[in-house]
């Protein structure tokens, strides 16, 4: 008997079907060996697949949403899924089947359905009952990059003001040389 777990968010629901890994001392209601998953978006065709398809599709949605928010070109292409923005409110999704002679499935979703889908994936990621191998490539990358930039910016902010102050002091004091004539002073003293 397989376990079923569902994650819902407004118009989208994600169903995970699989078995617990008893060799890893897991409970009956847990799922570690995912045999099938189904993504149901209201008024759209049902999307289903195996475990090897779930992670690339989840990553595609996460990467695409990051690109969309960061003002970069919102377009993602892979062997399994292509996502492109038609305009600010509409997104084109092309799901390519791994089976031969099957036409790709084309979906058009708005921002509301996109956020519902990503929230379903978030629920799955945070669920203690489902264990999937996660590779947070995008988030780790952006985090490292950002912290690297922050360190550089902090270093420059620290070193730049004293450097400018010393340079201006040298320039100002060197300009005073033109006003100072030691011979005149010696003559006056005499």
């Amino acid at each position: 008997m397989q376990n079923k777990l569902s994650f819902h968010q407004s118009s989208v629901s994600l169903e995970i079907i699989g078995l617990p890994d008893y060799s890893n001392d897991e409970y009956k209601d847990q799922i570690s060996i995912i045999s099938q998953w189904k993504l149901n978006i209201i008024d759209k065709p049902l999307i289903e697949g195996k475990i090897e398809h779930l992670e690339p599709i989840m990553n595609a949605f996460y990467i695409y949403s990051n690109l969309l928010i960061k003002n970069k070109v919102p377009s993602y292409e892979s062997k399994l899924i292509d996502i492109k923005a038609e305009n600010l409110h509409l997104h084109n999704i092309v799901l390519k089947s791994s089976k031969p002679n099957v036409k790709p499935l084309i979906l058009k979703i708005g921002n509301s359905l996109l956020s519902d889908t990503i929230n379903c994936f978030d629920q799955l990621n945070e669920s203690s009952k489902v264990r999937i191998k996660k590779t947070d490539v995008t988030y780790n990358y952006s985090k490292r990059l950002r912290f690297g930039l922050n360190k550089k910016v902090k270093f420059f902010n620290f070193i730049l003001p004293p450097f400018i102050a010393i340079c201006s002091l040298i320039l100002f004091s060197s300009s005073l040389i033109y006003f100072y004539s030691p011979f005149e002073n010696i003559e006056k003293k005499k």
Binding site: S10, S65, L68, I69, N111, N119, D122, E126
Partner: protein, 87 residues
């Protein structure tokens, strides 16, 4: 907090998707947004003027709402921080 506001945020985003059928929510939200900006921001600033311009502020409003709607999970706070750092 965006978790509790998610149904409203979603409705606003949805109303912008099909303006011909359901434009009231988007119009109300846009009006209130402009009112609040006028009350609390320096209206003379060029950036604020862009926010007040109804033909130009669509993108920033939609991206802000979308950012909030993607941060309703338990780790939403961390996600929001990352988005804001990259903004």
């Amino acid at each position: 907090m965006s978790r509790y506001l998610y149904p409203f945020i979603r409705e606003i985003l949805k109303s912008r998707e099909d303006l011909e059928e359901n434009s009231d929510i988007w119009k109300d939200f846009n009006m209130r947004f402009i009112e609040l900006i006028r009350e609390r921001f320096n209206v003379e600033s060029m950036r604020v003027k862009k926010l007040l311009n109804q033909s130009e502020n669509d993108e920033i409003i939609i991206k802000s709402l979308l950012t909030l709607s993607l941060c309703i999970s338990n780790q939403g706070c961390q996600k929001l921080k990352k988005f804001l750092l990259d903004f």
